[in-house]
């Protein structure tokens, strides 16, 4: 019975996580293009290492925000603005 309960809990966790993740919306490139000059949007480039350094495509004005330093930069960002994170 204990095992069954544990299994049920794990299944529940797995089924809930996509729902929670769904709260973070995905954005189309065309949608972002229209917002590039807007003051209400903060664009965060979350790529690190060679993923960032060797890429030719970097959105002008984007702030570098490495996943490793999340605790550091997450607190400094304005909460009233739309945060757009991109990794590729």
């Amino acid at each position: 019975m204990k095992k069954f309960t544990l299994l049920l809990l794990i299944t529940l966790c797995f089924s809930i996580s996509p729902t929670l993740a769904g709260a973070i919306n995905l954005m189309e490139i065309s949608e972002l293009k229209g917002m590039l000059d807007s003051d209400s949007v903060v664009i965060l480039d979350v790529r690190a290492g060679r993923d960032w350094s060797t890429s030719e495509f970097k959105i002008p004005g984007a702030i570098r925000a490495s996943g490793e330093d999340f605790a550091e930069w997450s607190t400094t960002l304005p909460k009233d603005k739309k945060l757009v994170l991109y990794c590729a």
Binding site: G49, R50, D51, S53, T54, S55, E56, S66
Partner: protein, 426 residues
């Protein structure tokens, strides 16, 4: 007749033409401007002196021109084994991890946007591994193609740049004095790789590395000047892809495509050279009964290459290239390579001194200079502690293994017979 020389020259060019070397060149010329050109010439001169010393004709019989023999006879077995293992293994595992990922991005962003960059990086790793599994002849035949294609692309871009509008109206003017010592000294790292290949045990082995050095210095000087003429130095200084910016300014989309070809072909060339270099070193140590777990004469080059490929693949999957720390590790590995060059100069100087050869003391001066400059570069790096820790750990591990092995197997060192086949390496 000339083919072994071409192969040896192409192998010497492996690292020098790589995209990482071009990034260092672009950032260096932006930081120190015209003074960096002087630093480049000075670094090439020091390297050339080192080559002339470690490939001195008087050393040809003293260890059969082999790098391992030279180190063992001139510096002793323990330092030779330790530095060879530490430097060759560090560079062969870390540099390709970064280079292959860079090539993957170049292919994805320049040629096929839908093709996954990691997929392409693994494809290149597989290709180089297959070349090595196919045998020495295929490896050495492929290297001139990789290096030649890279040289050709760079040459086309340079010629187009010379004929372009910015050559008469440069965007960057070198006004004022700009000098960053650690960047200027870093020019020395651009010419690594000339310590390794010889075309044959019987011929003059100084020619290929010196030819590679001459080609590279000429192209570097030209490319550095063009970089300053076409792209503002502030932009070059901050860029992680200065070579791509310059190529795009010179020839637009065609320039990007040419630079993409250069990145991919020279990445293949660098990885091919590093695999060849490391597997040959390990095989030679094994052949001399100086590699733990290997019986004499058991040359297992293919096995070593397979092992390198598996570890690099694991590092790529583990996401090492996606961490900023990889640049620090690569810098530390390059410094270990410079230390190996310093030890080679010391060993050559010592043997020549014993044989009363004139100017043998140059070896001691060069060894001290290279070691001092390596220390300076490590100390002036923004992650100096990580670099020192990495170098110390790698050297301690390699010397610990070597010391244990020499203690366990003190009886004999097998001196292998002279290789007679064509295009003999080392």
């Amino acid at each position: 007749m000339a083919w072994p020389y071409i192969i040896a020259t192409a192998l010497s060019l492996g690292w020098m033409l790589s995209p990482d070397a071009l990034v260092r060149l672009g950032n260096g010329v932006a930081a120190n401007r015209t003074l960096f050109l002087v630093a480049l010439a000075f670094a090439a001169l020091l390297t050339a002196r080192g080559i002339a010393l470690i490939r001195h004709p008087a050393l040809r019989n003293n260890g059969r021109c082999s790098q391992t023999s030279l180190l063992i006879q001139g510096a002793g077995r323990l330092p030779a084994m330790s530095l060879l293992l530490a430097s060759r293994l560090a560079i062969v595992l870390l540099l390709p991890t970064g280079l292959l990922v860079s090539a993957g991005f170049a292919f994805n962003e320049i040629f096929l946007y839908w093709f996954p960059n990691f997929g392409f990086a693994f494809l290149l790793l597989g290709l180089i591994t297959l070349l090595h599994l196919a045998g020495e002849r295929i490896v050495t035949a492929a290297q001139p193609i990789f290096a030649g294609l890279g040289l050709l692309c760079l040459l086309i871009l340079c010629l187009a740049g010379l004929g372009g509008p910015a050559s008469s109206r440069p965007v960057s003017m070198d006004i004022g004095f700009s000098f960053t010592p650690e960047v200027a000294v870093g020019a020395l790292l651009l010419f690594l790789g000339t310590d390794y290949m010889t075309p044959s045990n019987n011929r003059d082995s100084r020619l290929p590395p010196l030819a590679a050095l001459f080609f590279c210095l000429s192209l570097f000087l030209l490319w550095a000047m063009l970089s300053l003429q076409y792209v503002p130095y502030e932009q070059l200084l901050d860029s992680t892809i200065p070579h791509l910016l310059v190529a795009r300014e010179i020839l637009g989309e065609t320039g990007r495509i040419l630079m993409g070809c250069l990145i991919i072909s020279t990445t293949c060339g660098a990885v091919n050279t590093l695999f060849h270099q490391a597997s040959s070193t390990l095989a030679e140590l094994g052949e001399r009964n100086l590699l733990p777990g290997h019986t004499p004469n058991g040359r297992k080059k293919r096995l070593f290459v397979l092992l390198f490929a598996l570890i690099i693949g694991a590092l790529m999957i583990g996401g090492l290239a996606g961490h900023d720390i990889i640049e620090t590790y690569i810098q530390a590995s390059l410094l270990l390579w410079l230390l190996l060059f310093a030890l080679l100069c010391f060993a050559a100087g010592r043997i020549l001194y014993r044989n009363n050869v004139a100017r043998a003391w140059h070896g001691f001066v060069l060894a001290t200079l290279f070691t001092g400059l390596a220390f300076f570069m490590a100390a002036s790096h923004h992650q100096a502690v990580v670099i020192f820790r990495f170098i110390l750990l790698t050297l301690t591990a390699a010397s610990g293994i070597s010391a244990f092995w020499l203690w366990k197997q003190p009886a004999f060192e097998v001196i292998p017979p002279r290789h007679k086949h064509k295009g003999d390496t080392q």
